[in-house]
C-alpha cells in the first residue's frame, strides 16, 4: 500500500505574526517557515504504519512556491520515500488544493491519505473533507488514533463531547490531530540521505486544474488590542462599572 501525506509550509508557530503595513497580508520576508505542525503528525503516523509492515511507500505532497521543497525534504529526512511538489502561488485555496490532491491520487493510487487537520496559517480545516467528497472516499477527521486492519480501519476522533471511534473502509482519508503521536526528530545522517531522495515537480496547468482564487481578500488587520484592566474596591463598584461603563449587564 502507498500512503500519500500532504504537508504545508507555514510561518513557524513560534513566530509572532505581523500584519503588513499596507494591510495586504502578513509579513513573510525572512520569517522562519516550517512544516504545519499537524502535518508532522501525519508524516509520523505514515512512518509508523510503514514500520508496522502495513505500507510500503510514503509519498509526500506539497503545493506552493519553490521553497516548499524544504518542507518536503524535512518529511523525507524523517523517513518518507519520495516527494511531489505542485508549484502554485501561496494564495491557493482549499478547493483548488483538494482538486490537485485528487489528481495526484488518480495517478498514484494510494491506499490511504493522511493530512493535518488544519493549517495553522489560514485555519481553513476544509481540504481533507473536500478531497474526500471529490474522490468519493470515506473520511475520518481529527484522528487521534488510527488502527489499520485488513480492509478497514478503526479511527479514534477528537470531538467536542469526547472521543468517537469510527470504522472506515479502505481506502480512506484521515485528517490528523496533534494528539495522534509525537513526531520524531530527523537525524543528521537521515537529513543527508534525504538530499538524494527524488522530488517530482509539477504544475497545476499540466494537471489541468484551475487554481485561481475565488475569494478576494479585502483587508487583513490585527485584532483590536485589549484594554487595560482596572482594580475595583468592592463588588458595588464592579457592578457599577459593568453596568454603566462596560454596559454588559
Amino acid at each position: 500500500m502507498k500512503i500519500l501525506v500532504t504537508v504545508k509550509r507555514v510561518i513557524d508557530y513560534n513566530v509572532q505574526v505581523r500584519v503588513k503595513a499596507d494591510n495586504s497580508g502578513v509579513e513573510k520576508e525572512n520569517v522562519k517557515m516550517s512544516m504545519n505542525p499537524p502535518d508532522e503528525n501525519a508524516v509520523e503516523e505514515a512512518l509508523r504504519i510503514k514500520e508496522a509492515g502495513k505500507a510500503d511507500e510514503i509519498i509526500i505532497l506539497s503545493i506552493g512556491e519553490e521553497k516548499c521543497q524544504e518542507t518536503i525534504r524535512t518529511a523525507l529526512a524523517m523517513g518518507a520515500d519520495r516527494g511531489i511538489l505542485i508549484k502554485a502561488t501561496d494564495d491557493i485555496e482549499p478547493l483548488a488544493v483538494s482538486k490537485l490532491v485528487s489528481k495526484i491520487v488518480e495517478a498514484e493510487k494510494p491506499g490511504l491519505i493522511l493530512m493535518g487537520k488544519q493549517a495553522i496559517d489560514d485555519d481553513s480545516n476544509q481540504t481533507a473533507q473536500m478531497t474526500s467528497a471529490l474522490l468519493n472516499w470515506p473520511q475520518a477527521t481529527f484522528a487521534s488514533k488510527i488502527d489499520i486492519e485488513e480492509n478497514t480501519a478503526i479511527v479514534t476522533r477528537e470531538i467536542d463531547e469526547g472521543l468517537e471511534r469510527v470504522k472506515v473502509n479502505m481506502p480512506f482519508i484521515a485528517s490528523c490531530d496533534l494528539r495522534l503521536n509525537e513526531p520524531r526528530y530527523a537525524s543528521l545522517p537521515n537529513i543527508m540521505k534525504a538530499k538524494k531522495k527524488p522530488i517530482d515537480i509539477k504544475s497545476a496547468e499540466e494537471l489541468g486544474v484551475d487554481i485561481k482564487p475565488r475569494i478576494e481578500n479585502i483587508k487583513i488587520s490585527e485584532p483590536p488590542t485589549r484594554q487595560k484592566g482596572v482594580m475595583v474596591a468592592d463588588v458595588a463598584e464592579l457592578v457599577q462599572k459593568l453596568k454603566y461603563e462596560a454596559k454588559v449587564i
Partner: protein, 542 residues
Amino acid sequence: MEIQRESMEYDVVIVGAGPAGLSTSIKLKQINPDLNICILEKGSEVGAHILSGNVFETRALDELIPDWREKNAPIKTKVQKEKFLFLGKKSSLSWPTWLLPSVQKNHNNYIISLANLCRWLATQAEDLGVEIFPGFAASKIIYDDDNKVIGVQTGDMGIDKAGNNKDSFEPGLIINAKVTVFSEGCRGHLGKEVISKFNLGSNKSPQQYGIGFKEIWEISEDQHDEGLVMHTAGWPLDNSTYGGSFCYHAEKKQIFIGYVIGLDYQNPYLSPYDEFQRFKTHPAISKILKGGKRISYGARALIEGGLQSLPKMHMPGALLIGCDAGTLNMPKIKGSHTAMKSGMIAAETINEYISKNRPLSEYENKFKKSWVYQELYTARNVKPSFQWSLIPAIIFTGIDQILFRGYLPFTLKHSHADHESLIPANKAKRIHYPKYDGEITFDKTSSVYLTGTNHEADQPVHLKLKDPDLPINYTLNEYDEPAQRYCPAGVYEVDVVDQNNPKFVINAQNCIHCKTCDIKEPSQNITWVTPEGAGGPNYANM
C-alpha cells in the same frame, strides 16, 4: 547502558553559522573545493540566533566575495548622515562629528541586518558545497588521548526533564574532523571550555563583556531619515557605568534602536533592560518613536575586551575565531568585519595544515600581519580608559585616538573580570525604574514574546547551577540576586510567596541565549549549556 552513536567524517567541522564560521567555510571552499566541510548551527535556521546593530564595514566581504553587489547581498542602505548626542536628563547636546575619532566615522558603511547577511552568506556557502545543519547544537568536544580536539558531538534530542529518554529520543552523533573551528560568538560554551582547558587566556587581561539590546521599530514617515546613524552617551547611565545607545534608520521606515551596557557595572540593583527602556523615554528619543510600532526585540552579550583580552586562537586540532575568541573592535562598535576576516585567515591556515602539513599555530603569525590586528592594536586603549569614569575617558580617548591614532607607547590593562565588579547590595543605592507605558517602554514578558523564543518544555534545564542553594543562601542576601535584573528575558526569579522560604526559579524556556548569566553571576555559579537543538530565539531581521 552506553548509547550507540553514529559518526560522520569531515575535513572541517565549524561550530556556529555566524559571520566568522560562514566566512571560514566560504574561503576554504574557494581555495580548496575538495574539502568536506560542515557547519553546525544551534538555531532553528541560519540567522535565528544572530543579533547585531548593525553598521557594516564591507572590507572583509570585499575581499571574500568581491561581487557581492551583483550577487544581491542584503547590504543596501548606505550611511548618509551621522549624529552623536550627549544626553542629560532632559537635554541633549550634539557633538560635532568632526571631533569624533576617525574609527567612529561611518560614511562608507551600510546599515544592515546581520541575520539576513548570514542567511545570504549561508546560501553562498551552500552553493560552494558546504553542508549546513541548522537545529543541531554542538554540545561536547571530542578529544583524543593526547588531548587534541578531533571533533564534536551533537546534542541528544528527546530527553525529558528528569533525564530519561522519551519515545522521540534521538542520540547525538559524533562528527570527526581534521580541524574543528569554534565560532559560536561571544562566550560560546565550547569556546569557554577550550580557553580554560588549553590555558589560551594566560598572560591576558580578563575578558570584558557588554550586554546589547536591540529593538526594531516601524516609525512615522516624518521621523524617518533613511541612512542616518545616531549614537548617544550619558543619561540614563551614571558616569561610572560604561555604555551608550545606537539608532540606525534602515529601509522601509524601520529603525534599529538599541543600548549597550558594560557588564563591569557595579550596582547590583542596576537592570540593563530597564536602563534601555528608560533611555527610550528621553525627549530626544521618544519623539522618534511616538506613533511608531515596535516589531522586534532581542539581546545578546558582546565582547569588549579587545586585544589585551584576546586569547590565543589556536590549539591542537582546532581554532577559535570571531567573538568566540573576541575580535570585536569596541571603539568602532563593530565586530562583523573582524569576525569575518578572522575566519578567512583561519581558512588559509586550515588549508595549509591539511594539504601542506603546516602547523595550526601559523594562525598567530597570519593574524598579526593582517589588518584586523592593526585595527585592534590601535583600538586597544579606549575601553580600559573608561575605568576612570566618563569625562577623563573621553579626554584620554581624544588624545589617544585623534592625536596619536592609537599609537600611544603603552597599553592599558583591564583590571577585573565582569563577575567581580558588583558591590554588596547593602552598600549600593536602590534604583527605581519608571513603570512601562506600553507604548514606548514595555515589560519583559511582552518583549520576550517578540523574540519568538521557544524550548521544548520537557527537557533538562540548560542553565546549570554549580551549587543549587547558592542563589538563596548567599547571592540573595549579598547582592539581592542580580540575575533577576541582568537577565534580559526574565529567566530568573526569586519566588517570595512564602517569605520565610524564598525559592530561586529558572524559567529556562524564556532563554534567548545571550549568555549574560554565565558572565555576570558573581560566583560564576551559572553555566549555560546547549539546550535541545533548534531551541532559543527565532530572530527574523535582527
